[in-house]
């Protein structure tokens, strides 16, 4: 073996058999063979595809995306009518996918953390209930949950007509009307509206932009205030009270906006067949959102529980010894450490949720799969283009999310050595 000898004898002359028996050459041989096989496979598939398409008189052409779509989409985040193009329909679908995924991830996280912590609760009943929740949702297919929740929403809630007439139902809190097709919630309307920012056909009200700007500003200011408090604490040993500043940062600007622009709630009202005014949140969205959150929440609960159990008991005892209450122990000692264990599997749960949102078709929620991969493909007959494009978009979403989450993970990861 001459591999690692620094000044060994000169390499033996090359023989053909060395391609297999010499470790240096062998890996090269294997790679070349695999590469050739792969190329053969790819060219075979491409050849077949070309042949098949030619036989059917089809081609690969994405221009169908710019034709009139002709179908309506119940839930839309950007303006869309049946006169718009298939491309815009796909955009509406993509936004719907992202929308339900974002909602689902947020609630699933909350549910999961709560259920995971409560599962370890000393309260016998609560711990058992949470175990039942986790086991039931983890061991029954998601599709069933989506269908069941959708049907339950439809059957349990009243029709809009029951909010009218003699013994009409009252709106919940006088604001919200759950019906068997949507939940009517009030919208915020301004008396002196400053108008909207118009980009193409998308209108973003200035109020919303202002609200978001104030919110971001509040977060930044809060950081500055806390950093200052920390400095003072480090210097003098006494931390100034900051909670009221923090609270004011988040409360005062919206309140001021409300007074200045005359913001008020527009309560939904029954007009004709349906509620008008306010916002109607489709049951298909609610059902999908609930099912995704509950299902993923059960998995997250298990992850959280495992994360908490992974922290050694000494940590809890040390915290108790310092006189921290159980609540503070959880918040300051256990959870921050558990986060390290929790985040990597949490990322894959988020990715699963996004991918699972493609089951929306079961309840007729028009997501990317429902528009581009469903009706568009069906109306135009462009299944090759449509499905490949849809897969590419899903792949892009997944890679982006996992990329961003991995950056976050690297930041919270305990820096060792």
């Amino acid at each position: 073996m001459t591999e690692s000898a620094p000044a060994g004898p000169p390499a033996p002359p090359f023989r053909l058999s060395m391609l297999i028996y010499d470790r240096h050459y062998r890996s090269l041989t294997i790679q070349v063979v695999v590469f050739i096989l792969l190329m053969l496979l790819v060219s075979w598939i491409v050849h077949n595809t070309v042949l098949n398409l030619a036989r059917l008189g089809k081609d690969i052409d994405f221009s169908f995306l710019f034709n009139r779509a002709g179908y309506d989409i119940p839930q839309q985040l950007i303006p869309y009518t049946s006169d718009d193009t298939h491309l815009r329909a796909a955009m509406v679908g993509l936004l719907n996918t992202l929308y339900v995924s974002a909602l689902g991830c947020a609630t699933a996280t909350v549910l999961g953390v709560v259920a995971g912590v409560l599962r370890l609760s000393k309260n016998w009943l609560i711990a058992r209930l949470m175990t039942i929740y986790v086991e039931i949702f983890r061991n029954i297919p998601l599709l069933l949950w989506i269908l069941i929740i959708y049907a339950a929403l439809t059957e349990i809630t009243p029709g809009p007509r029951e909010y009218r007439g003699e013994n009409a139902r009252e709106l919940f809190l006088g604001l919200i009307a759950p019906t068997n097709r949507y939940t009517a919630i009030p919208s915020i309307v301004a008396e002196h509206s400053p108008g909207a920012l118009v980009i193409g056909r998308i209108e973003i009200p200035w109020l919303a932009i202002m609200g978001i700007a104030f919110f971001i500003a509040a977060i930044v200011l809060r950081r500055i205030v806390n950093a200052r408090a920390q400095r003072i604490q480090n210097a003098t040993g006494r931390r100034p009270t900051t909670w009221w500043i923090n609270l004011a940062l988040f409360v005062v600007p919206p309140a001021a906006m409300a007074v200045f622009f005359g913001l008020h709630l527009e309560v939904p009202e029954l007009a004709g067949f349906n509620f008008k005014g306010g916002i109607n949140v489709d049951n298909s969205l609610v059902a999908l959102w609930l099912a995704l959150s509950l299902y993923t929440g059960a998995f997250i609960a298990e992850i959280v529980r495992a994360g908490i159990l992974a922290i050694s008991k000494g940590q809890t005892e040390a915290a108790y010894a310092l006189g921290l209450s159980p609540g503070w122990t959880m918040n300051l000692v256990i959870l921050p450490q558990a986060l390290r264990v929790i985040i990597p599997p949490l990322i894959s749960q988020y990715l699963n949720l996004i991918k699972n949102s493609s089951l929306a078709v079961a309840v007729g929620y028009m997501d990317l799969r429902g528009t581009l991969g469903g009706t568009t493909v069906n109306q135009t007959g462009r299944e090759m283009e449509g499905i490949l494009l849809m897969m590419a978009i899903y792949l892009a979403i997944s890679l982006t999310v996992s990329g961003v989450m991995n950056i976050y993970n690297n930041r919270v990861k305990l820096k060792e050595r």
């Binding site: 391609l19 297999i20 041989t29 070349v32 063979v33 050739i36 096989l37 053969l40 496979l41 075979w44 077949n48 036989r55 059917l56 008189g57 089809k58 002709g70 179908y71 309506d72 989409i73 119940p74 049946s82 049907a151 439809t154 059957e155 029709g159 068997n180 097709r181 949507y182 007009a271 004709g272 067949f273 349906n274 008008k276 109607n280 489709d282 049951n283 298909s284 078709v361 079961a362 309840v363 007729g364 929620y365 028009m366 429902g370 469903g374 009706t375 493909v377 069906n378 109306q379 135009t380 007959g381 299944e383």
Partner: protein, 341 residues
């Protein structure tokens, strides 16, 4: 050794590819070689296509599949029914999943041309209608402004609905549903004010309700829905076979040939058209690559057009559809078979 592996791989792929090319041929040859007709059908629409507890399919569209199988293979039972949803039916046909699509599909321009389908005729003239609960107090589709409407995705009804409401300057909220049974569940639970689909489908759906009398089908028919079987574009002979099988069924009714008297008429009929149809005199079958008795077998499979209609969706069945537009042209309908000559 490297070359050996490489050659081996090349040989294997060439073999597989070669096997593929060898199998290429026209649909008729494929069906005959397979000994089985692959028929794309609705996964479950009472009267048109539905399997029973033992997996035996029956219905209006099924009878057509059986007729074609009888004509081509000589055995009406040699059909494999492939259920296709509204969303997957055309891709299923285009990709060769099925030889024949008999799944109450509407014949439209773009489907016939852009989707590379060939519709071979119309076996049911339909139109899109609305069903509403009586308690809603609506008597015309024009009063549905602002209503919530249940609609099956991937169908022409989806497009017609958008057009109709737009043309009449009305708005609506669609509730998209995936299959007919989901739609019924949503409609009965009141999740939508109206349910829209082909009038025949509405009748079938309503017939199965616990209280059919509580629901009305509105008088407006908002579109033309000529439902017909379709085949892949580009195989004219196969299209001819399917088309003339359909005409044979329709013509049989016109000339009074039924599954009961077909044997007798084949021997004794003096009508030259019937003689040609049943292969007593001319050998029409040869021109489409079949034998003499093809039409006779097709008609014997489940009867002529009228018999099929009566047995599956006619007035004697729970669905109770009248012949209407689907009567023979001699009786004021649109069913008109091209001459067998």
């Amino acid at each position: 050794m490297k070359t050996t592996v490489f050659l081996g791989a090349a040989a294997v792929s060439a073999l597989i590819a070669g096997a593929g090319f060898a199998a290429e041929g026209d649909t008729l040859a494929q069906v005959k070689a397979r000994g089985e007709l692959l028929c794309g059908v609705n996964p479950g629409l009472v009267g048109f296509a539905s399997p029973d507890a033992n997996g035996n399919w029956s219905g209006f569209d099924i009878s057509f599949c059986k007729a074609v199988a009888a004509a081509v293979l000589g055995d009406a039972s040699k059909v494999k029914y492939i259920p296709l949803t509204g969303q997957t039916r055309f891709t299923g046909l285009a990709s060769g999943e099925v030889d024949l699509l008999a799944r109450n599909s509407t014949w439209t321009f773009s489907r016939d041309t852009d989707l590379k389908l060939d519709f071979i005729g119309v076996n049911y003239y339909d139109g899109q209608g609305f069903m509403v609960p009586k308690s809603l107090g609506v008597s015309s589709a024009k009063e549905l402004d602002g209503a919530t409407i249940c609609i099956q995705t991937g169908t022409t009804t989806e497009l017609n609905l958008a057009d109709y409401f737009k043309a009449n300057n009305m708005t609506y909220q669609p509730v998209n549903i995936d299959s007919n049974s989901e739609g019924e569940q949503q409609y009965l639970a009141g999740a939508c004010d109206a349910y829209t689909t082909d009038a025949s489908g509405l009748a079938a759906t309503r017939a199965a309700f616990a209280n059919p009398g509580d629901h009305v089908i509105l008088p407006e028919i908002i579109s033309k829905e000529p439902l017909g079987p379709a085949v892949r574009h580009g195989d004219s002979n196969w299209a001819d076979i399917a088309r003339w099988t359909l005409y044979a069924l329709i013509a049989a009714e016109e000339y009074g040939v039924t599954s009961a008297n077909i044997e007798e008429l084949a021997k004794s009929s003096q009508n030259p058209e019937v003689q040609r149809l049943l292969g007593t005199t001319d050998d029409l079958g040869k021109m489409i690559g079949l034998d003499k008795d093809w039409a006779k077998r097709a008609i014997a499979a489940s009867g002529n057009y009228g018999e099929i209609f009566a047995a599956t969706i006619g007035e004697q069945t729970p669905i109770g559809l009248a012949r209407g537009l689907n009567a023979q042209w001699t009786q004021g309908g649109l069913m008109y078979a091209m001459p067998f000559r």
